[in-house]
Symmetry: C2
Subunit: 257 residues, 2 copies
């Protein structure tokens, strides 16, 4: 054991505020073979050694939250420039969620196309994609309160698809309507009518842009390739403007008077 000492200079009239270790965790979701998958690491140290957990780690001095999330994700997957859309999900704690003491964690959500995770060395925590279903079914157990964070992430992802163009964050740069539909089906856990989905996706102004190219080589009729329209592209870390969904009661002004 080592004794580590912090010095903190404060005006004597005010008590020193409590300081907390802060971690970032990332719920990285992707759609693989039509099924939703989440990126998990196998913990190599206590607590929860050997248990699956969300990738993440401590925020370092001088870092912002999003930076820390990007760094941790890069470290644990070996992927330099990560694809997809990253946003903050919410904060948990600090009370009673880590047996080592009070740790605040800021969870993040990454919606990404299926990217390959690089093998870590033998002494590094190995990240890999796991079917979300296996976690929900209890086949896989997560460390800490990560199951709850995953639940919240899934809820957020579902509603993001309803109200924003972020379904496309699961796709590559160019994609077909069917690929996009399979994202919706995987995240929502439903089957959707291909014809109505096509009408809706192509008919929503400011959502998709036809690239003019087509798929080749697949079974069946070739499909047109689309990309996200410029105005629908998410700014990393920024709240996404809803483009897809005119909801029921909308801020629509009546003639003032």
């Amino acid at each position: 054991m080592t004794i580590i000492t912090y010095y903190c200079f404060m005006p004597a009239s005010h008590p020193a505020p409590e300081r907390f270790p802060v971690t970032v965790d990332v719920v990285a979701l992707t759609v693989r073979d039509g099924e939703l998958h989440v990126l998990l690491i196998t913990r190599l140290i206590e607590p929860f050694r050997g248990r699956l957990a969300l990738p993440g780690g401590f925020v370092l001095a001088g870092e912002d939250l999003l930076e820390a999330a990007v760094r941790e994700l890069a470290e644990e997957t070996g992927v330099e420039h990560l694809p997809g859309h990253l946003e903050q999900l919410g904060s948990y704690g600090p009370k009673g969620r880590d047996p080592r003491g009070d740790v605040l964690t800021v969870a993040h959500l990454l919606l990404a196309p299926d990217f390959p995770v690089l093998s870590a060395g033998s002494d590094a925590e190995q990240a890999a994609w796991y079917p979300v279903r296996d976690v929900l079914d209890g086949k896989l157990e997560l460390a800490f309160d990560h199951a709850r964070i995953l639940d919240d992430a899934l809820e957020r992802a579902k509603s993001k698809l309803e109200y924003s163009p972020l379904g496309a964050a699961f796709c590559d740069e160019e994609f077909t309507i069917a690929q996009l539909r399979s994202v919706y089906e995987a995240v929502w856990g439903t089957r959707l009518d291909a014809r109505n989905f096509h009408r809706k996706a192509t008919g929503t102004p400011g959502f998709l842009e036809d690239t003019g190219r087509m798929t080749t080589g697949d079974a069946g009729r070739p499909a047109a390739l689309f990309r996200l329209a410029l105005e629908a592209r998410p700014t990393p870390g920024q709240p996404t403007r809803a483009v897809l969904n005119p909801p029921l009661m909308r801020p629509r002004a009546v003639d003032p008077r």
Copy 2:
């Protein structure tokens, strides 16, 4: 100046994680005289002494975030049991948002009926309601990054009204359709057609419940008093189930085959 020393016992093989002071801030919104107001305090200490700021303060040992937000709000308004709906908004920092050093803040959002703020003693920070418009217009300047947090809170509040029954969180237990409409108008900054709003509000299943009572004494025809239906009542701190809004593309399954 006093030197405060922390001791932290850690396994020598791992470096001590950075620790950050963590604050909670609350964006408390209400509708007063048809206009959106936000609760602000006048800072009595540096930094930003004399400047307006969101109510908030440091998270204490053994506290959870929501607890801390409730405690700070109670301390700064003198209100014991706070009305309305409180939820987490998001976290900011820790880099470069406080001149004293890196401080992480977890912002919260309170949607509440117009409650009176108790006068603080002369040496306490005085909380009061201010028109949101004055902040947006630049007539009032906020400390730290609180203007940005307020922006995010307003965005969140607007979308909450679209997708959830939380507009009623601004009203008293029982309210008229016109009172509810004035909430929507204030938050969205628009005027809405009273007849269509009435149809929509009363016609949405699981939203409102007729109390059978009527208003008396106001000008014009008396209005029926409603309350939130049981299934639409928010659980404090819990994500709210959207009741109001069937959005355009919804998880609706097609006959599986």
